[in-house]
């Protein structure tokens, strides 16, 4: 082995992570190479220094604070208001829920992918974690979920017109919303994949629904939740169940639309029909 090959393996050698043969070959090289030997000695010193680092102690109140939040989770996660038991996570995709109106709130957001930049595995992980957090809160408290999303992705208020100018195409939300729903807020979010415009809308019955418009399909948002494909208003649509609500994604032109927070398939179909239909006059 030459110096370069040894240098590549030096940490693995130092940490005892090489296969025996390689370990022996590196050791043989080190016998006669002072440069590599000195490098290894530095690794050893760093390790000794690391062993002497302080062990900062977590404050004792942390558990109490945590427990209060966990209790709060339970308080805010009561039995659903419809006569359906909450699905367990392992079987939370009973088809009958598609047809059952769930609880009161649904949230609407409109996200528009601005830049076609894909992201690293770490970012992929973060996105999965952040959306998991968002979706979990969404079911309990849509407004809190919204705050989480804004905090995670540097959300700032905007308008549909500003979003269109920024993204250089007119987002589907410009078509307006199905009857009975109105636009509440629009935000721009810096997501790992893109800059998103998000519109939060409220329906007459107090529901919120979220619609994201993005360049790439984003199954990562929904983790390992089960999903099905179906036709809604003639569009192939992927449906994911999130607790008592549904998320739906369909392709429109060269982008994807995702809505989050629909109560049932009827809701989804209404949105698909409206957002993929012709733009109303005016």
């Amino acid at each position: 082995m030459n110096c370069s090959e040894v240098q590549e393996r030096l940490s693995a050698y130092f940490d005892g992570e090489l296969a025996d043969e390689e370990q022996t070959a590196v050791a043989a090289h080190l016998e006669g190479c002072s440069a590599c030997g000195e490098e290894l000695a530095v690794f050893g010193k760093l390790s000794e220094m690391s062993a002497s680092l302080a062990d900062p102690q977590a404050p004792t109140h942390l558990w109490n604070d945590l427990e209060a939040k966990l209790d709060n989770d339970e308080d805010h996660n009561p039995m659903p208001s419809v006569a359906v038991a909450p699905p367990s996570r392992s079987q939370r995709f009973p088809p009958r829920l598609f047809a059952i109106a769930a609880t009161v709130l649904v949230a609407v957001g409109l996200g528009v992918a601005g830049y076609k930049i894909w992201f690293s595995p770490d970012e992929h992980d973060h996105l999965a974690i952040n959306f998991e957090h968002y979706l979990e809160e969404f079911d309990k408290d849509p407004e809190k979920a919204q705050r989480i999303l804004l905090a995670k992705y540097d959300g700032r208020p905007t308008t549909v017109q500003e979003a269109a100018a920024k993204l250089q195409y007119e987002p589907v939300i410009a078509k307006g919303l199905p009857s009975g729903c109105s636009l509440k807020d629009v935000y721009l979010l810096d997501m790992p994949c893109c800059t998103c415009a998000q519109a939060v809308c409220r329906c007459d019955d107090g529901q919120h629904i979220a619609v994201f418009e993005h360049d790439l399909d984003q199954p990562v948002w929904f983790g390992d939740r089960p999903s099905i494909d179906c036709l809604c208003d003639g569009k192939p649509t992927n449906i994911v169940q999130i607790d008592d609500r549904l998320a739906a994604t369909w392709k429109q032109g060269n982008r994807y639309i995702t809505i989050i927070g629909a109560r049932d398939l009827e809701d989804v179909t209404r949105f698909v029909a409206h957002l993929s239909g012709p733009k109303p006059n005016g």
Partner: protein
């Protein structure tokens, strides 16, 4: 010269008796029953998991994001862990899963706050209470040098040298191939040496 053989026989954990918290090797003993009970929402089991592992998470957080934010983020990691514990499949160690949440949370925080990583611990020396002054000085130098490392390198180094994880577990915690763990450690150690020298350290 520190030989790999010596290191394998005398791992960091064994020589570091002053460190109060459990290391990865001890955390592995966390039984499946505790996790299973926590998955059923048993608060005592959650508490037990917290007691077993919170120092590990906190210690990592302090060096990833700084003392100021370590409390909040540690709490956030455990909130996430208990909210999502039914997604823990047992494919990795529970501790590894927790480290993964912790690293992701810290990286997310760093990106969110757009903080330059070298500001994190520059002015937050953590221990002047004991030891020879040389030793204290070296510790402080290392803290400062660590704070200058890129977060990805820092997390890899900390998981190896402070948390004592083997490469396979680091790879799972960081979701990278094992080979990447080795190359990141090479870079981390070389850059640390460089930063230390800039800070006045003499190897």
């Amino acid at each position: 010269m520190t030989s790999a053989a010596l290191r394998r026989n005398a791992p960091l954990a064994a020589s570091n008796t002053s460190r109060g918290a459990r290391k990865w090797t001890q955390m592995q003993d966390t039984t499946a029953e505790i996790v299973a009970a926590a998955q059923r929402g048993d608060r005592d089991a959650q508490r037990e998991l917290y007691e077993l592992s919170h120092q590990n998470v906190y210690r990592l957080m302090v060096r990833m994001v700084g003392l100021q934010d370590a409390d909040d983020l540690t709490q956030q990691v455990f909130l996430q862990a208990f909210r999502r514990i039914d997604q823990f499949s047992g494919r990795s160690q529970f501790s590894t899963w927790l480290y993964r949440l912790a690293v992701n949370e810290s990286l997310q925080h760093l990106r969110r706050s757009k903080r330059a990583q070298f500001h994190v611990l520059e002015h937050e020396p953590m221990d002047h209470s004991s030891g020879h002054s040389d030793n204290v000085e070296q510790k402080d130098l290392l803290e400062r040098a660590l704070a200058r490392l890129e977060p990805d390198l820092r997390s890899t180094f900390l998981l190896r040298e402070v948390e004592d994880l083997p490469y396979g577990e680091i790879a799972l915690a960081l979701d990278v191939p094992e080979g990447t763990v080795g190359s990141r450690l090479n870079r981390a150690r070389r850059e640390l040496k460089q930063h230390l020298i800039e800070l006045g350290w003499e190897p």
